[in-house]
Amino acid sequence: MLEAIILTVITAATPLLLAAIGELVVERSGVLNLGVEGMMVMGAVCGFAGTLTFGTPFAGIIAGALAGMAVSLLFGFATLTLVANQVASGLALTLFGLGLAGLIGEGFVGTPGLKLPALFIPGLTDLPVVGRILFGQDVLVYLSFALVAGVSWFLFRTRAGLVLRAVGDNHGSAHALGYSVVKVRYLAVLFGGACAGLGGAYLSIAYTPLWVESMTAGRGWIALALVVFASWRPGRLVVGAYLFGAVTILQLHAQPLGLGVPSQFLSMLPYLATVVVLVLISGNRRATRFNTPACLGTPFVPDR
């Protein structure tokens, strides 16, 4: 039973983790992109379309990431080149993405998709209890963890990561030191778009291989909240995504037990649990402030 629950939690958490790790990098560079939902849904529809067009889910993965990047570029142009307001532009991106994805997907409604195959290693995957959990996942699940590790390494162990954090913490100084703030932020926004696209593609080719309008059902918003939950630290993102996923799944498991608690209250649990846990762990205010990108949401114009 525990194994089954964990397996379900993994699928519930992966799209959140994928989208959130990208947004984390974006926000670390000082940009607040509230358009995750729009990029995700574009990833979902293009991932689905790519899968069916080329006959393999791997094409869908690439298509999803590219679609996320393409729409994130719109956001980048508006907010970085033209220094438009980031919050409003992000919301505009969400609207635009939901609409465009719906148009692209019109022809795919009612068509079954192809499911991303799970890894199978004879011997290892067959292991009791841990076999399927550790060695029986699909490639995007492993990728989500690889991305978290990679981003963590990049941000805190490489020079480029240092530059990115500097841009997010004090764009004035970073610029004075000769770094192109706008270029760094463009790259971050593109990375965020690709990750959100992957998260969306995971929905339409691994979670539930189908396409229907607005199938992201608000997951982009949750991903955004998780970045805040993680205080912009990649490791804690995993905790957040899996906590949210676990509470969601556990309340579904709790319902048939006949506890007599109205289902609406059980459905509230994932949201409330995230708040409560964040309150408990945000006791250390200095650490939180230290990790918050100081320039988050503020536009930058190089004066020359």
Partner: protein, 362 residues
Amino acid sequence: MHLELVKRPEVSRVMMVGSPVLAVGLTVIFAAIVFALQGKDPLAGVYYFFLEPLTSSWSIEQLIVKATPLVIIALGLAVCFLSNNWNIGAEGQLTVGAITGSMLPVLVPEFASPATLPLMVLMGALGGALFAAVPAILKTRFGTNEILTSLMLVYASGLFLDWLVRGPWRDPKGFNFPITIAFNDAAIPSTIPIGPLYLNLSAFVALVLVAVLAVTLGRTLKGFEIRVLGQSPRAGAFAGFSARRMTLFAFMVSGALAGIAGILTVASEIGKLQPVISPGYGFTAIIVAFLGRLNPVGILIAGLVIALSYLGGEAIQTTMQMSSKVATVVQGMLLFFVLACDTLILYRVRLVGRAPKEPARA
């Protein structure tokens, strides 16, 4: 080649007016392209999207109805955003305001007097303010980031409303459908004829609030405090302002206004509580707030523009058989263009060739 922004010595008055015009012009062109790609007559599409909603007194009334809650909520959000408090949970505060405001007509339906509606609005404001105080207090007490808390509470409040109207507040004569009893007439705002238009009381509330906020933000010490703390908490501290108290203040003002919008929408448009009471007004209002440059009068105009884009979207659906997705895409484009063109007020845009290697002057 790339675009480069050059800061203007002062705000361009021409562009204050010119940029929205340019934005609408660009949207019209791109919208026409989208319509043509859909195989529809682009000119007709442009007419129905941008102009048709302004051609009858009915649609102008509808425009105002749609803009009213957006403007009221966005006014409160402006206070939050100006003071650097990220309240993105207005939708939840709206929901709770609608619930607390509805307590009178749902639980005490016999109480029908001229005081009913004012009391409802008051209770709605109170409910919204208290609900908004939760993320504010969590922020000031525990340093919990308000983006997450305010957003998560949106979902919780929606589910709570759902439970309420399916359980304890359900109309016993409603065949067990999820609706409360209908509000009594005293609980429903009246409409007031202005020329050929019949306007709901809510619209006037919105106008009054715009005026109040415009004066408060522009002419009072409180307005100054809001701005200073938003721009530099340190400077604010030197001036003797408390950022913590401001967080609570801004959130509660914003929550109160969202609550007012919630109860007014429910009372004037629905007349009872039900699971769905808002098509995402609390989120759309965030766009309205920024589109209006966080300025009360700007918000009034932005609210009307956004409302127009919704009505226009419906017009192209019904008259030209375009899907709602086309409408959403055009709406997204309109927002992008308006936001991007705003840049021209503060900056000149230059197209620069591949030679930024000129001798440094700075």
